[in-house]
């Protein structure tokens, strides 16, 4: 049994270089100047918080760690206050290391190829338009809570074969795991148990009535020896698909709309040149990458000349890597037609996001449908934009006024 601890408040950060904390309100509001300060100090910085944690600050250091599965394990992928015992089959393949990683990953890849995503696209366009129908007449909207939030959750529910109407249930589990769970072990355990029970019931239903969805696909999948997967593996992968596919893309769509609301020139250009949207999506993914991952140092090594010691966690900040000016000229500017863009928003190395083709399709469709129907919008000066804390960054409140400014 894991140790259960009460959530603790973190003291505010005064020395970012030696005491960084990605849950600090300053980081949540505006992390970019912090990353710049850390990068100027060293390619790898360290904090005593989270029982000891490093952070690579350059693209190169992030790449080195992502490609080094010998010294850096994925058995823990969220930097938290506690280090409870690692569950077997927590969420394969994201929590797997070689050699078990590859077969677990290959199992999930075929349903997420670009061609598979094309089949899902008409449903996505319909979902976006149904959501827009719900608020367009109001003249204002919370684009995070009423639009971007519901696009990925309905897409993955559709693929898994679970009711799209259970969306709020899934969103609450994810909030408990990815945000509250950093400091509150009870919340995390409760959400994991509830998710497992939910999926067990759906698996049970499919034993007598198989369906054409990802749950049946995983139930019927065979491992390398031709044996069905253990139930814990099926449940772990289902939990992963549900967790990983939702607030990540919700954040990416929200940040993109936030940028376009504040940047009329980019908005007008995308309306005039819709063919540019896929390139713009890549740049928005670079500039506002939502996902920060983690590794655990399992053997001492050196990264960009800095020694790293076993027993520490690593905050693997793809978002900070994507702001490294050595890799990206004008890294702090959104260059909406950036031609050269090796951004790491979906990770680097063997753990490249399984859902990257889904996320890209959702972002393109969400922006296309929005711009098509709502060419003019801006931040509501009477409202407040708020951002999520910790592992996934994106707007959670995004009040807009719709239509031309008077």
């Amino acid at each position: 049994m894991s140790d259960v601890s009460q959530p603790t408040a973190h003291p505010p950060v005064t020395d970012w270089i030696n005491d960084f904390d990605h849950t600090d309100p300053q980081w949540t509001d505006d992390p970019f100047p912090i990353w710049e300060e850390l990068r100027a100090a060293s390619p790898v910085v360290h904090t005593e918080r989270f029982l000891g944690c490093y952070m690579p600050t350059t693209y190169e250091a992030v790449r080195e760690i992502a490609n080094d599965t010998e010294h850096f394990s994925s058995r823990r992928i969220i930097v938290r206050d506690v280090r409870p015992e690692v569950a077997r089959n927590a969420a394969p393949p994201i929590t797997s290391d070689p050699p078990v990683h590859k077969p677990a990953k290959q199992l999930l890849l075929p349903p997420f190829t670009p061609d598979a995503m094309k089949k899902l696209e008409p449903r996505m366009r319909a979902i976006c338009n149904e959501l827009i129908d719900g608020f367009i007449a109001d003249g204002k909207v919370d684009a995070a809570a009423q639009y971007s939030k519901y696009i990925p959750v309905q897409a993955i529910a559709h693929m898994l074969g679970i009711p799209e109407s259970d969306s709020d249930l899934f969103i609450n589990w994810i909030h408990m795991i990815l945000e509250l769970g950093i400091k509150d072990e009870n919340k995390l355990l409760q959400a994991v148990q509830e998710m497992s029970a939910y999926f067990r019931a759906h698996i049970e239903e499919r034993r007598s009535k198989p369906t054409d969805d990802l749950i049946s696909y995983l139930m019927n999948a065979k491992d390398k020896e031709g044996q069905p997967l253990e139930e814990s593996h099926v449940l772990g992968s289902l939990r992963l698909l549900l967790i990983a596919g939702i607030d990540t893309t919700w954040s990416a769509i929200g940040s993109s709309l936030w940028h376009l609301a504040r940047t009329p020139a980019d908005r007008e250009r995308l309306i005039a040149e819709p063919g540019l949207i896929p390139i713009a999506v890549e740049e928005l993914l670079r500039a506002y990458s939502p996902v920060t991952m983690a590794r655990e140092v399992v053997e001492e090594t050196t990264i960009s000349g800095c020694p790293v010691k076993a027993g520490n966690m690593v905050l693997l900040s793809f978002p900070a890597a994507n702001r490294d000016p050595k890799m990206f000229p004008n890294a702090d500017k959104v260059v909406i037609d950036r031609r050269e863009n090796r951004h790491a928003a979906f990770g680097l190395g063997i753990h490249r996001c399984v859902g990257s083709n889904l996320a890209r399709m959702e972002m393109q469709v969400a922006l296309e449908e929005w711009l098509n129907r709502i060419p003019d919008f801006r931040l509501d000066p009477a409202g407040t934009v708020t951002w999520s804390q910790g592992t996934v960054r994106g707007p959670r409140q995004l009040p807009f006024l719709l239509g031309k400014a008077m």
């Binding site: 290959q106 890849l109 075929p110 997420f112 190829t113 670009p114 061609d115 896929p278 890549e282 031609r339 050269e340 863009n341 090796r342 951004h343 790491a344 979906f346 680097l348 190395g349 063997i350 490249r352 990257s356 083709n357 890209r360």
Partner: protein
Amino acid sequence: MAGRLRVHVDPDKCQGHARCKALAPELFELDEYGNAHEAGDGTVPPGLEDKAWLAKSNCPEIAIDVIEE
């Protein structure tokens, strides 16, 4: 005049980001897992040279070579 170009994907480096397929669909193909390889022998038909360089410069894994022959 530049000579003929050929593209090549290093299968050990490719992780299936599929940027090459999005930017230069004529020059790359994806397998059932979404990992990329060059179409045919990788020869770049005249007029698609820009797309070959674009695919190379957008591969996050630095898995694509453009060879000038």
